[in-house]
């Protein structure tokens, strides 16, 4: 049966980047559709009525929402190439725990650095603590999954394209605070799936600068 895979996404979204990477790792051909977040398409509103957010993966007409759920779905539907999650239940639980940690901690804190006035200093200190915890979990492994690039790496790598934004508005230097994490990010970027999915940092920094002007922060 011919597969139809559509991804509703936004180029700068670190969540959308996850799904792009997962699909690329599995060599799945898909139709990428850029959403204007200030003028959402009727397809997006129809496929994700509960949250109205991207990314939305539409597989043969049926929507799957939430990026981490999409990675698991992609791994389960196309199991033969490049496993994204470990097969051992304990290692799977461990991977899911850290992806959940990333979701609960990184974005919420990071957003306060550039999207809220007055909370940058506290938020950037908190972000460094969170990234150090993740760096500690990585240890001296090649990837979070040890020798294999997988779920936790995919969950975090998109944020690395935003590090320049956090450095700028948080007045920090993530590279000097978390050198091992930066080294890990560079290793991930050597993978074609990641290099193609992540926009250049400068593009995101410019986008955020313009957005802040629009919102009246500058």
């Amino acid at each position: 049966m011919a597969e139809e895979v559509i991804l509703l996404d936004f180029w700068a979204s670190m969540f959308g980047m996850r799904t792009r990477i997962a699909l690329a790792e599995k060599r799945i051909k898909y139709d990428y559709r850029e959403e204007d977040l200030w003028n959402k398409s009727s397809l997006l509103l129809e496929m994700n009525p509960v949250h109205k957010k991207i990314p939305v993966l539409i597989h043969n007409g049926k929507p799957v929402c939430e990026s981490l759920i999409q990675i698991e779905y992609i791994d389960e539907i196309w199991p033969d190439k490049n496993s994204l999650l470990p097969s051992d239940p304990y290692k799977r639980a461990h991977a899911k725990f850290w992806a959940d940690f990333i979701d609960k901690k990184v974005n919420v804190t990071a957003r306060k650095i550039w999207a809220k006035i007055g909370e940058e200093e506290e938020a950037s200190k908190e972000l460094i603590e969170i990234l150090k915890t993740l760096e500690n979990e990585l240890g001296d492994k090649t990837y979070f999954g040890d020798e294999t690039f997988g779920y936790v790496d995919i969950a975090l790598i998109g944020f690395s394209s935003w590090f320049e934004v956090y450095d700028k508005y948080g007045n920090v230097n993530i590279e000097s605070e978390c050198p091992n994490l930066i080294a890990w990010a560079k290793r991930c970027l050597e993978r074609e799936s990641v290099a193609k999915a992540l926009p250049k940092s400068e593009k995101i920094t410019t986008f955020i600068s313009e957005l802040r002007k629009k919102l009246g922060f500058e």
Binding site: V64, Y73, I77, P89, Y90, R92
Partner: protein
């Protein structure tokens, strides 16, 4: 690998702790329940979950698994040959179950929790409206997921039933103290009937706290100082 002692660090009143307890019951896995004292955290908890310092924590042969829904999936995968499947078998249904479980934690439960915090008539009305909207969404989700069967998971209770059902004790306490019906048979008939079936399930009954006991506990922990 099913060998190894199973322990669960938790508390009788926590809905999140209820989730793995129900899953362990479904799989007939014996475990030692390590009750945390309210107001303090044991050394074992802090050592087993240093990132969040929260319950529940499952210890399987002393290896910790944290986060209630992740623990439930772990239990399902580890004891896959015992008892019914806790997660649906088709990847799409699994994605749906995970989606709704996340919605329950991030939106529905947040609405439930803000209801007793509402001050005055306006805030209470708004909180009630928000919860009723979330209930309506879950009523539809139930119809879509259950496909005419008694539970979200089909014939037997599963991941999504557990994810929502664990809050029913607290929902009843909130109804009692607030004086408002929060799960209305008229507005959400399928969900209301499902709630009764869930609470009567043999894997649930032994771990669902009695409403009166929970209400008394709630009074203690939410005791507000007099103005």
């Amino acid at each position: 690998m099913t060998t190894g002692e199973v322990k669960l660090i938790g508390a009788w009143a926590s809905p999140f702790v209820m989730r793995p307890r129900i899953a362990l019951n479904l799989k007939s896995v014996p475990y030692e329940f390590l009750q945390e004292t309210f107001g303090s955290k044991s050394e074992l908890l802090l050592k087993s979950n240093p990132a969040h310092k929260k319950i529940p924590v499952l210890l399987h042969a002393d290896k910790p698994v944290c986060e209630s829904n992740i623990i439930v999936e772990y239990i399902d995968e580890t004891w896959s040959s015992s008892g019914p499947s806790v997660l649906p078998s088709h990847p799409y249904d699994r994605a749906m179950a995970r989606f709704w479980a996340a919605y329950i934690d991030e939106k529905w439960f947040v609405s439930l929790r803000s209801f007793p915090k509402a001050q005055g008539e306006e805030e209470t009305k708004a909180a009630l409206a928000q919860l009723e909207e979330a209930n309506a969404i879950l009523e539809k989700a139930f119809i879509d997921c259950s496909k005419g069967k008694p539970f979200f998971n089909g014939d037997n209770i599963g991941y999504l039933d557990i994810a929502l059902g664990c809050f029913l004790g607290w929902l009843r306490v909130t109804e009692l103290t607030g004086g408002h019906k929060l799960l209305d048979e008229a507005k959400t008939p399928s969900l209301s009937k499902w709630a009764e079936r869930f609470c009567n399930d043999p894997a649930v009954k032994p771990v669902m706290p009695e409403t009166a006991k929970l209400a008394e506990f709630a009074k203690k922990i939410f005791a507000k100082p007099h103005a």
